[in-house]
């Protein structure tokens, strides 16, 4: 479903952020990408949602080389993907419901769809009682759940989570992980970038280790090793 073919990414005159990456992710996979800060995890994810283009090589998504997509088709590509970030990226002036609804508005969903789907997803992430609250009235874990709900609302086939537990306490982190696992069980591919050992080990799924822009380990043992 996602394939990296000899992908290299270089920013300016710096050493490569990614160096000759070959990688395949199958539908329904749960893949953890680990490695120290600056190893190239985020760059790898950005290549998937086409925020960045590779300097060399090709990234395929469902068989389509991403560099062939025009800027007009990029939005459509991104609708296949839900993204979750360490800093949540919630809009502070919108409440929980509106934050999630906004993602649907942006892709042109009807008001009826919004009224039907948003409460459902809020229920799934367990924030039913808090849908009228604003981000600053929520804990970090709750905010991350809102951002996950927003990532899921348009039913993407892949969820990309870039350090989703980076700002969270251990208990909230495990809650988020459980949610990701639940989503994965329902058939959505999950790509989780993290340097949180506990989270990755708890997941016990395929782990890809990146160091200095290279894949140093890709196995199914589910152990975080650096």
């Amino acid at each position: 479903m996602i394939k990296f073919e000899s992908v290299t990414k270089i920013y300016g005159a710096n050493p490569p952020a990614l160096d000759n990456i070959n990688l395949e992710i199958k539908p329904g996979d749960f893949v953890s990408i680990v490695g120290p800060s600056g190893a190239g995890k985020s760059t790898l994810l950005k290549l998937i949602y086409a925020e960045e283009a590779p300097t060399e090589g090709t990234v395929y998504f469902e068989g389509v080389p991403l560099d062939s997509l025009s800027s007009k088709k990029l939005p459509k590509h991104r609708r296949n993907i839900g993204t979750v970030f360490q800093d949540f990226k919630l809009l502070p002036k919108k409440n929980v419901f509106e934050n999630i609804a906004y993602a649907l508005e942006a892709i042109g969903a009807s008001n009826a769809e919004i009224q039907e789907n948003v409460p459902q997803i809020i229920d799934i992430v367990g924030l039913k009682e808090k849908s009228h609250l604003f981000p600053q009235q929520l804990s970090g874990g709750e905010q991350q759940k809102v951002s996950m709900a927003r990532a899921l609302i348009h039913r993407p086939i892949v969820i990309i989570a870039d350090e989703p537990t980076g700002n969270l306490d251990p208990i909230s982190s495990l809650e988020i992980l459980e949610l990701l696992l639940k989503i994965n069980e329902l058939g959505t591919t999950v790509i989780l970038a993290s340097h949180d050992q506990d989270v990755v080990n708890q997941a016990a799924k395929r782990v890809i280790t990146i160091e200095n822009g290279r894949i140093v380990c890709d196995d199914n043992c589910g152990r975080y090793k650096i």
Binding site: K76, R78, R79, Y102, A103, A106, G108, R150, H154
Partner: protein, 307 residues
Amino acid sequence: MILTIQRTIKEALSNFWRNSWLTVASVSILTLSLYVAGIIYVEIISANDEIRYIEKRVNISAYFAEDTPENEIISAKENLLQLTEIQKIDYISRDQALENFKRDFADVPAVMQSLEEIGNNPLQASLVIKANEPTQYQQIADYINNSAFKEIVSRINYNEKNKEVIENLNKNIANLRRAGASMGIIFALITILIVFNTIRITIYTHKQEIEVMRLVGASNGFIQLPFIFEGIMYGLAAAAISMLMLALTFKFGVNYITPIISSGAPSSSFFGVFISKFSQLFGIELLLGIALGVISSMIAIRKYLKI
């Protein structure tokens, strides 16, 4: 589609009010530009009206020797009418001329008295010729001077001065247009710069929203539209305000604007011109305002909205 437009308008309206100081700055400079454009427009229109009024009064008269039989004058008239340059010829007989003269000088006893002393009619018959274009009088005068009936024409009162006046007026209008255009371009550039900056800052303050929109796969149009709409709203607001300012200026501040030509023609009031051309001027202001707003937005979007 309707949904997108609805949401776009909602978004643009809230931007418009939330960044109130920036909005004030953008709308003011846009208003100022349109105001200047409006003044120049009305100046040019009324100057054109003046010229047309003056042109209407310009004509050329050919006077015939006192003993010329009427039929010869008529045949000269027929001959002249074949010229395409000529719009109209009025024949004024000697009796008619005398009547006109008496009417014009009825309250000047000295003139009337001397007329009586002369006894007979001292006036000549004439053809009053009106050309299509003021530039054609010289040609017509030349034609008469070389015509078969030049013997019976005693004089032509073609006045070089008329021509000069008209040429001067035309030159003035051309100058005004040129000055107006260069001023317009300078104002337009300043306007684009300031509105562009406002939209840039709006884009900056909406960085988060834009990022989220891109991540969830909002179409480029959906992301751009609110900013373009904002530009349109600046244009609408500026057009309305500048029209109001123009109305007030022409109504109450007329003493401070100098008309470039004034001949005392009935149409020479700026306010009159403003009212008679109101919808046309409003249309121009709207178009100009919206165009400037949208162009500035597009530049800002291209530069700062990486999509």
